[in-house]
């Protein structure tokens, strides 16, 4: 590939700009180039004021989530060649307040994360270490859902998050599920009460946008559906 990429980047500096704008750059391509390479090239050689987050570069930290060509993606894990076009538009994640350029305020996301108490609390009456075999049925699909790196892609893709400020969102509900389904946890019932609210599980309408964008192939829809079932069963006195 000798032709360059035609990159449109969202720019907004609240200290100096009245309104957001797009800057255009022609970026040379190399083999296996990722979107993170694109913005780093722009920052290193073309415009030092471009702001974006990144850290590990290998899809583990969740810092570099951006909205690229119509979808929320991890910049480090999105190959330019996979986009199948030379025209690339890079914007900050939707559904988040913007701090500057491609950097968004993750605070609303983490506030909701905290609301479901995203940490394991051991039951006092059982002896540690508690053994639940890896192949035991009661792990259900918890294991698949544990890979979350809280990147915010699912949260930014969800239409319910867009229209309802209070909605907990797919990431928080998914994390809540992994703990509610965990028999060793001490506050499972309290957690279920938190998600059993109009701004909890009941706002999900199985749109699947979250699953489409998750870089870890998590399906939050599945966790949320499981939680809805648990909420109903609890009303009938059943809680496993």
């Amino acid at each position: 590939m000798s032709d360059p990429l035609y990159v449109k980047v969202f720019r907004f500096n609240p200290a100096s700009d009245v309104a957001p704008k797009f800057d255009h750059f022609e970026v040379p391509v190399f083999n296996n180039m990722a979107i993170l390479d694109v913005v780093m090239h722009i920052q290193n050689y073309m415009d030092r004021s471009l702001s974006f987050r990144f850290s590990c570069r290998i899809g583990m930290c969740g810092s570099c989530a951006m909205y690229v060509n119509g979808r929320a993606r991890l910049a480090c894990r999105t190959q330019v060649s996979a986009l199948k076009t030379r025209n690339i538009t890079i914007m900050p994640l939707p559904n988040f307040p913007i701090i500057r350029d491609l950097v968004v305020d993750m605070e609303p996301f983490f506030q909701k994360w905290k609301e479901i108490k995203p940490y394991y609390l051991p039951k006092k009456e059982i002896d540690e270490p508690v053994v639940i075999r890896p192949d035991s049925k009661e792990r259900e699909f918890i294991d698949d859902m544990l890979d979350c790196i809280s990147c915010g892609c699912c949260y930014s893709a969800c239409s319910m998050v867009a229209t309802n400020k209070e909605y907990l969102g797919p990431a928080a509900l998914n994390r809540a599920y992994t703990l509610i389904a965990d028999k060793r946890d001490a506050i499972r019932v309290e957690r279920l009460k938190v998600v059993d609210r109009s701004y909890g599980v009941w706002r999900c309408h199985t749109q699947f946008n979250c699953a489409e964008v998750c870089p870890k192939n998590i399906v939050p829809t599945r966790s949320i559906q499981n939680l809805k079932r648990r909420c109903v069963l609890k009303k009938f006195g059943i809680f496993k």
Binding site: T163, E166, D196, S198, W202, R203, K228, V232, K235
Partner: protein
């Protein structure tokens, strides 16, 4: 509350698929697509089965529809007061339409 109302929404959905299917089938497809008139409908309606079918349709149809509306409302930002007002309005609407509908069905025989 939401677990119950959501669950009832699903139950009403299942019931509606069956009852609505029957309703449309009997009304529009059982006489070869010809126009309906009062005599035909009265003949069909005067049986307890069909009155019950139509009342079921009213109850679950109205519930499903109005809870659906409420669900759309909740998908957007609103205050606690607004939620109560809208809920009350929808319940009132539902009961009124249900009452009128049942009245219309049954009181043709009054």
């Amino acid at each position: 509350m939401h677990a119950w109302t959501w669950f009832l929404q699903r139950i009403s959905a299942v019931i509606l698929v069956i009852v609505l299917g029957l309703h449309i089938g009997f009304l529009h497809f059982s006489n070869g697509g010809e126009s309906l008139n009062y005599t035909d409908i009265m003949a069909r309606l005067k049986t307890p089965i069909f009155i019950s079918l139509d009342i079921l349709l009213l109850i679950f149809g109205l519930y499903h529809a109005l809870y659906g509306l409420y669900s759309v409302f909740l998908d957007f930002d609103s205050g606690k007061k607004e939620k109560i007002v809208v809920f009350g309005f929808l319940v009132t609407m539902g009961l009124s339409f249900l009452g009128f509908g049942i009245f219309g069905l049954i009181c043709t025989f009054c």
